[in-house]
């Protein structure tokens, strides 16, 4: 007797991560694939959850700044800024101009460094080895400047509620100004190397596209929302710090696909350098860097404030509830990567297995930010 054996196509599930080289940290997703096509994706996070929000409730205000460094570890200054401003808003503090300018310069440089990292990582995800080297060469200059200012390359702990830890070193202006032409040239080189590469275009154009309406619905923010065609940049929409004094452009895409997300970020680097240039020009040479009358252990009055800043990854928000003591009552962190990752199943609809790493790369998530 011959038993009839039917060969049926089966969907297999593939586990990606948390130790996969292209998941940008400890991120895990389970793919159900039909051959090379993705049927369903389920992201799993939490491998880097440190309970920052809960930790904040047990720490003094100055101690919390170090915790914020460790959230989005590619954009430390931006995180610090958001928390400090949330507390300043609650206390009604007026931060001295010089400190504000230094903050803007450092944050924008940090944005460039973060986007360079994105650029290199996306290249690697798409299979190009060289971009990451070019990007890291440029990023290194910025990191050196950070080290000169704060003494640390990554975990700076430099901003304080009411100003800065200390004044910038002598010659800071010249140092950053000398940095800019090289950075601009380096960014152009990076742009020429990858942006219009045929194979790169084939891999990123039309992949993982999302419409403007859906992007808003998924609470995407930052470059991803702008790539979908919404000119939503908090620096312009709700200017904080000194951002209403600078003249810059907001790059906006049309398709919302990986290539648009990539191009938006490349253009944003140039705009950030523009802001840095203007900030250096306007920055007063002398002056205090700390608001007058701030205690070493600040105690914001009872109340609550929600502060949001434009981080490299999108809208970073801090919801700070104070009960008037030296420890915050509740700190809620609105992490941009967290909102991005939840759109991943939607973005990967009708994609191939190979697209999944490119789309993930174009989200530019930082797991410290996702898991907190």
């Amino acid at each position: 007797m011959e038993t009839a054996r039917r060969l049926e196509p089966v969907e297999i599930n593939v586990n990606m991560g948390p130790q996969h080289p292209s998941t940008h940290g400890v991120f895990r997703m389970v793919l159900w694939v039909d051959g090379e096509r993705i049927v369903q994706v389920e992201p799993y996070i939490g491998y880097l959850h440190r309970g920052t929000e809960k930790l904040c409730e047990g720490e003094l205000y100055p101690q919390i700044i170090t915790l914020f460094d460790r959230l989005d570890y590619l954009a430390n200054f931006n995180n610090e800024l958001c928390f400090c401003m949330a507390a300043e808003k609650l206390m009604g503090l007026e931060v001295p101009e010089r400190a504000q300018y230094v903050r803007v310069v450092l944050c924008e440089l940090n944005r460039v460094a973060s986007h360079l990292m994105f650029y290199g990582a996306l290249g690697l995800d798409a299979g190009a080895m060289t971009p990451v080297m070019y990007a890291f060469r440029e990023r290194e200059h910025i990191q050196r400047a950070f080290e000169a200012v704060s003494g640390a390359r990554m975990m700076h702990n430099y901003f304080r509620i009411g100003g800065l830890k200390e004044d910038v070193p002598a010659g800071f202006k010249e140092m950053v100004r000398d940095l800019l032409p090289g950075l601009e040239q380096g960014i152009s080189e990076c742009d020429r190397l990858l942006s219009l590469n045929e194979a790169f275009l084939a891999r990123t154009r039309g992949v993982g596209a999302i419409s403007a309406q859906e992007a808003v619905e998924y609470a995407l923010s930052g470059p991803m929302l702008r790539a979908a065609g919404v000119p939503y940049d908090l620096r312009a929409v709700e200017p904080y710090s000194l951002y209403d004094r600078f003249d810059f452009d907001i790059p906006v895409g049309t398709q919302g696909d990986c290539w648009d997300r990539y191009m938006v970020r490349v253009e944003e680097m140039r705009q950030s350098l523009r802001i840095v240039r203007q900030a250096l020009e306007q920055m007063p040479d002398e002056g205090p860097v700390m608001a007058a009358g701030v205690r070493r252990m600040p105690r914001p009055p009872k109340g609550e404030s929600y502060m949001r800043t434009e981080n490299p990854r999108g809208e970073f928000g801090v919801y700070l509830v104070s009960d008037g003591s030296e420890r915050p009552y509740r700190v809620k962190i609105r992490a941009p990567s967290f909102a991005s990752v939840q759109a991943l199943p939607r973005l990967l609809r009708d994609c191939y297995v190979a697209d999944c790493v490119v789309v993930l790369g174009s989200l530019d998530i930082v797991l410290g930010d996702v898991d907190r």
């Binding site: 586990n15 080289p21 090379e36 190009a128 080895m129 275009l201 312009a236 190979a354 999944c356």
Partner: protein
């Protein structure tokens, strides 16, 4: 008595003949084994040099120094790597199909090693000058797919399986243009013997006569050996090494060896079929041959430093929709050219024209893709409040 003498004389003769034959046969066998061994040593040296060259070259492309620590200019780095790989623990995961798992590296390496028997390195410098050399090489180079499939299936790993299925699809579909282009060359030379193909490249190498064929062969060859931008089946950012994901130590080294041997084979085949083999003024033929081959290898490494990799569906589309039709068009054109006996520059003009048209088409397409980014001044956004 006489009969006995005759018989014994014959017997003696026979014995002598037998012994002579034995010795001769043994010598021939020894020579063959020696030749194979020599070939192995040569290939190992080539692979080591390629590894060093690739790392150095990529390093330079990426503004790094490349290996510098072991030996002068890091020359001994590949040796150290090889020693490390051989000494490493060879891990066998629990669920592998041992039979497939352990034979797969051999099955991948043996064919890619044996086909060097028919490759001539200079006039007469070949282990066996096969009349069907080209056919032999093309045929043997396909067998390696079985090894990759076995490795992917045998290692009981989903990435491995994805990778090996990708490789099967990729290698089978790119075999078609490779064969058709090789056929074109064989038609031009009127022979499948590689030495004769080299000799037939007179007055100019086929690279000049058939630039389109060279282009097709190089692209398809890259896909055959899975080099960037076609390194899809062992893409480390997607399937993490594909079929090789579960291998370690010496077995992984065998895969590595086979891969570099295959890369070198593509370079050698391009040299033999299109660049006039060992011909050249001044230098000894073997040197010319190696020089040309290494130039092609350098070209392949350059690709690796510049391009991202394609997606599997784009790869298949490129293969079946572009390379296969183009190779057939080229075949037809070549037969027309041979039938009417046009001068060689006629063919090269036609070939160049097609290549130029292709390049122009791609350029037009690229130019049409303007960045879709618009810049919205922040002032406008601010004032809209």
């Amino acid at each position: 008595m006489a009969a006995a003498l005759v018989i014994s004389a014959l017997g003696l003769l026979g014995l002598v003949a037998f012994i002579t034959a034995l010795v001769a046969g043994g010598l021939a066998a020894l020579a063959a084994v020696g030749g194979l061994l020599a070939m192995f040593v040569f290939l190992a040296a080539v692979v080591l040099s390629l590894v060093w060259l690739e790392r150095k070259y990529l390093g330079r492309l990426q503004m790094r120094m490349g290996p510098m620590r072991v030996g002068p200019f890091g020359l001994l780095q590949p040796v150290a790597d090889a020693a490390k790989l051989v000494l490493k623990e060879d891990v066998t995961p629990a669920w592998v199909d041992r039979w497939l798992f352990w034979t797969a590296p051999l099955l991948l390496f043996l064919p890619s090693y044996l086909l060097w028997v028919a490759v001539p390195f200079g006039p007469g410098l070949v282990l066996r000058d096969l009349d069907l050399g080209l056919l032999y090489i093309v045929a043997l180079s396909v067998v390696g797919i079985v090894g990759i499939l076995m490795a992917g299936w045998g290692s009981a790993n989903k990435y491995g399986m994805l990778g090996s299925l990708r490789s099967a699809a990729q290698l089978v579909s790119y075999e078609v243009p490779v064969i058709i282009v090789a056929l074109t060359v064989a038609m031009m030379a009127g022979s499948l013997n590689l030495s004769q193909i080299v000799e037939a490249q007179r007055p100019v190498p086929y690279a000049v006569v058939q630039p389109l064929a060279l282009f097709l062969f190089l692209l398809a060859g890259l896909a055959e050996v899975g080099r960037t931008p076609f390194d899809i089946y062992h893409a480390e950012s997607e399937v993490m090494g594909g079929p090789y994901v579960e291998y370690s130590g010496a077995h992984w080294a065998v895969f590595y060896l086979a891969e570099y041997v295959n890369t070198f084979l593509v370079a050698v085949m391009v040299t033999l079929l299109f660049l006039g083999g060992w011909k050249g003024p001044g230098l000894p033929p073997v040197l010319w041959f190696l020089l040309k081959a290494y130039l092609v290898v350098g070209f392949i490494f350059w690709f690796r430093g510049t391009f991202p990799r394609l997606r599997i569906d784009q790869l298949m589309a490129l293969g079946w929709k572009a390379l296969v039709p183009l190779s057939f068009v080229n075949l037809v054109l070549t037969s027309i050219y041979l039938f009417y006996g046009w001068p060689w520059w006629g063919m090269s003009l036609i070939s160049l024209a097609i290549l130029a048209a292709l390049g122009y088409g791609i350029h037009r397409q690229a130019a049409a893709r303007k960045p879709a980014i618009t810049l919205v001044p922040a002032v406008e956004v601010r004032s809209a409040r």
